[in-house]
Subunit: 377 residues, 2 copies
Amino acid sequence: MEFDPTTHPHRRYNPLTGEHILVSPHRTKRPWLGQVEPPSSPNLPQYDPQCYLCPGNSRSGGQKNPVYESTYVFENDFAAILPPPAPAAPPAPHPLLTTEPVQGGCDVLIFHPRHDLTLARLQLPEIERVIEEWIRVYRKRGAEEHVKYVQIFENKGAMMGCSNPHPHGQVWSLSAIPTLPATELAHMRAYAQTTPATSGAPRGPRGRPCLLSEYAHYELGVPEAEGRVVLRNEHWVALVPWWATWPFETMLLPHHRHVPSLAHLTPAEKASFADALARLTKRYDNLFACSFAYSMGIHQRPTPPAAPQSEAEAQDDEENVAQLHLHFDPPLLRSATVKKFLVGFELMAEAQRDLTPEQAAARLRACSEVHYLDALG
Amino acid sequence: MEFDPTTHPHRRYNPLTGEHILVSPHRTKRPWLGQVEPPSSPNLPQYDPQCYLCPGNSRSGGQKNPVYESTYVFENDFAAILPPPAPAAPPAPHPLLTTEPVQGGCDVLIFHPRHDLTLARLQLPEIERVIEEWIRVYRKRGAEEHVKYVQIFENKGAMMGCSNPHPHGQVWSLSAIPTLPATELAHMRAYAQTTPATSGAPRGPRGRPCLLSEYAHYELGVPEAEGRVVLRNEHWVALVPWWATWPFETMLLPHHRHVPSLAHLTPAEKASFADALARLTKRYDNLFACSFAYSMGIHQRPTPPAAPQSEAEAQDDEENVAQLHLHFDPPLLRSATVKKFLVGFELMAEAQRDLTPEQAAARLRACSEVHYLDALG
Ligand SMILES: O=P(O)(O)O[C@H]1O[C@H](CO)[C@@H](O)[C@H](O)[C@H]1O
Ligand SMILES: O=P(O)(O)O[C@H]1O[C@H](CO)[C@@H](O)[C@H](O)[C@H]1O
């Protein structure tokens, strides 16, 4: 009997986090009798007088949005993290019960004045403005004295807990590197320090191998039909990672050189970043002909952002071991209304998926890059 | 300014997993404009001719359930893990892309013939039969040659991806210790090996301190009004862990001695386990007067289960460093229809909660132990 990843249950290892994922491809045949999600309505108005993110409207905190014409950033009215000063935490009552105060801030970043658009339906120059805004917030928050990490993310879709369809993301900046980026950084650092550099992949600081650059380099060499690459352009590649958890999870990252953060991007890299984002989000929407729900997050160098450095200094900057990358975690599994629930075994034991990453990549490769709503029109 | 955990954002450390959780208590004031869940209907028939778990009915695999009168166990018709033989995995095409075959099996464990009941509404002797069945499956699957871990869990409620309200749980047995139990075991082992034993808490193998016994011992000494204990009896305690992620997450564990697995429970401990389960699940249902959704999982000793051992041998059994415990992860936050979404920041950075664990415990302590449906009747 020969091993067939589309038939035999197996585990894959996620070298970025050290976790495993259980792959049970034969389970895709299981009938679904559980909860279905309400379909996301594509008939939104361009302007909604009730929306607290639309230009000129009032927010729940009482402030009024300006009549902005491009992107717009403001501090979250219900910030999960607050600016200093913060009182010191009391001593732990027991070594197992520790508290660490957190400081920083939470920003909301509106992508566009129009209530009915999403990244998938913006023009390239509009996406470039979103990218410029991410860079600006990363630099600005990252320069605050106490901030150690700037987490940029987007929750899209009601099924992902997003309470407003107006196109926006969030930025939570905090005085500690959060668990997941810290774990990823530790794995990238260990890889750089212990792995012999053999492939032709771009190298990280001190000429050491970069985990994600090695990985992307390998994936780009696999024949397309067998591989996990969804799309690529001159600087970026989007792929379903070998160790993906969510059915159509992807990672988007630069493949031609090691790039520690958004602040390191050249103008050409920003333009092709916009191209890759546009193409990936259009494919997502086209997969089930709906506005595809997901959580997206940008992982990069802890802050402060690298100050302008000489080439030699940059090489010595241990923090630059980070490779910029985006994760897209979309919940849908079979249709616009049937999602994968990461519950039970997944919460208690380890991640589990049915569809293989290779099957997911093939499905996404088969999608058009013309948005289905525009194709209709 | 003095630190107040109900006002100041802070991070807590989870010593079982090594992860952090961001606590933002002031966020509970945030209005909720997002998705609401359909209310769970309490008007189920005692027998549903369409239900593939009811006695005497046919399952989708074609088999017919016997007219069982208590618990009933069968192999999952869409098992995520399959029995041996399994072919060996091919060599990794790149060191970052590894595959490990998995073998084992998936069982479904029906708690009761009645379609409309849940653990919260069973009689104590009926819950004791569920416990006996868990022990039986743990021993039986654990004795299979290739099985290393037996993961018992329950997904309850449509919002937790459960596709059938008939009271049942699952047991996935596999040839590897899954990520989360493996991480917890590693932390328990490190704790036992490096922490000086000072408190009066029960000790693990070789007289070494047991992380969870130390923790439970500490919690039981905190004045009730300030603490995280929800309920206790002679052998068991249910508490909202200091590091809880889900709003009303609890842990249920023995507190009077170190118990590595279900197979180690004495008859008296089983009876008080049933008592604790009944009381905890009733409080959960009463919190928002609904059938409370959750994922529950039992963590314990990897398998094979400890063979009958002399006291000295048991002391030397390194696997016995595990302390039996149950996690309950319920998603509801504010009402029967508003849940906490672990998305965006939580998926990309680290767990985040609004309500403090102390506030959650106080809310659960205030609930009655008479089920609201019985109180009505
Ligand atoms: O096996 P079920 O109940 O059909 O499926 C449910 O539980 C499984 C184990 O936790 C999950 O993998 C599924 O996503 C969930 O829908
Ligand atoms: O901040 P929002 O959009 O109101 O809230 C949403 O995103 C947050 C950050 O990922 C989560 O903590 C919330 O559970 C979710 O509902």
